[in-house]
Amino acid sequence: MTWSPDKRRRVTLIGTFSVALILTIMPFPVWAEPFRPDWVGLVLIYWCLAIPDRVSVGTGWLLGFLQDVLYGSLLGSNAIGKTLVAFLAVRLHLQLRMFPRWQQAVSVFGLLITNQLLVLWIRGAIGQAPETISYWTPSIVGALLWPWLFIILRDMRRRSAIS
């Protein structure tokens, strides 16, 4: 392809984020719903670690906002969570890049839990907090998926030569 590097990067970013957003509202059987990871959060964390000067807080906010629109949830509740995740990921990107893969997964778990906790507080404040312990499973599933997702996204990044 003869696209400019700028255009290549934009297409890759928009592509991966769109897929993540569609995966979050893809129909799932009810019993499997707790096992759906936070795709948007995972993809956002990856890009924050890979190109922190391009993808950071602003992108996080926009993605969270789009998620709110698709979910029909309180506008701003996921936006604030994703902003915080992006901020922390960018702040820690130098350490996280050095970590072995499993340790990275543990840190990603921490980031995802932070996001969930913030969203839970907000939902609790408006009286819509879920009362099941399985609320936390998406973060665990997300952390377990991280190493594989990391490899897939890294290959995509190398193929489109983004740095």
């Binding site: 509202i25 129909p27 698709l70 701003g76 902003t83 915080l84 879920p130």
Partner: protein, 285 residues
Amino acid sequence: MINIFGRSFGAPSNLTRLILLSILSGTLMVLDHRGHHLEKIRAGLNLLAYPVQVIAAAPTQVFHGIADFLTTRGALRRDNEKLLAERQLLLAKLQKFETLEEENSRLRRMIVSATQVTEKVLAAELIEVSSEPFTRKIVVAKGSQDGVYVGQSVIDAHGIMGQVTQVSSRVSRVTLITDAGHAIPVFDNRSGLRMLVFGTGDPDKLKIPYLTASADIKEGDLLVSSGMGGTFQPGYPVAHVVKIINDSNEAFLTVTGKPTAQLNHGKQVMLIWGNKPARSGDTRK
């Protein structure tokens, strides 16, 4: 570089942006939750989300299409026979119902009551997309151009499913009775006891708080919507009581219910227009 009062600033740091965007999110949340100032914007945004929802629902749609195509002749014939038998049964019941309805309205006229029994019903297709994890919401392909309004009751063949909470011109979002924070006023069909049924966020579980040990309620009781508060249509089944725990250390009974409507399957729901009663305060917004 931005120049303010002679001092130059670089591009805002991530921390500054985090704080600014958090304030923006906070403002949005307050506006959305407290004042409902964003209804118009919301409707527009929901309309923009519609194509994405259709794309996300497409694979399941195709899958259903293939499954339909592969249905055998034998299965169709069996289904047909079963449906015909069911129809006979329902028609037989309906004969009785019509005379009862007539009698009911005559009696109501005698006591000068304005309530009507007949209601307008519209069937709506579900758009199969997931909502936020651990919320119970569904999206239906009917909107304000079909006359759908916020607060409208949504039912299926077995009982009340929930109420419409967001409307745009072509799609609307329905909050199910199992959503955490949702409440619906009901009465016990056996004893007439009035109570509130709350959602828990669990797909199959409802809770009924604030009942004391002396309350006349039994396992297996049918709870029927009472229409109090003016949001839900009265007289539709809502839940069965499945479990009552009487712990003497607690002030109230722990009562668990199971929705009668099939909230997790089915591809169609029904929107009902009753005679809209005066809205005397919502149970939920």
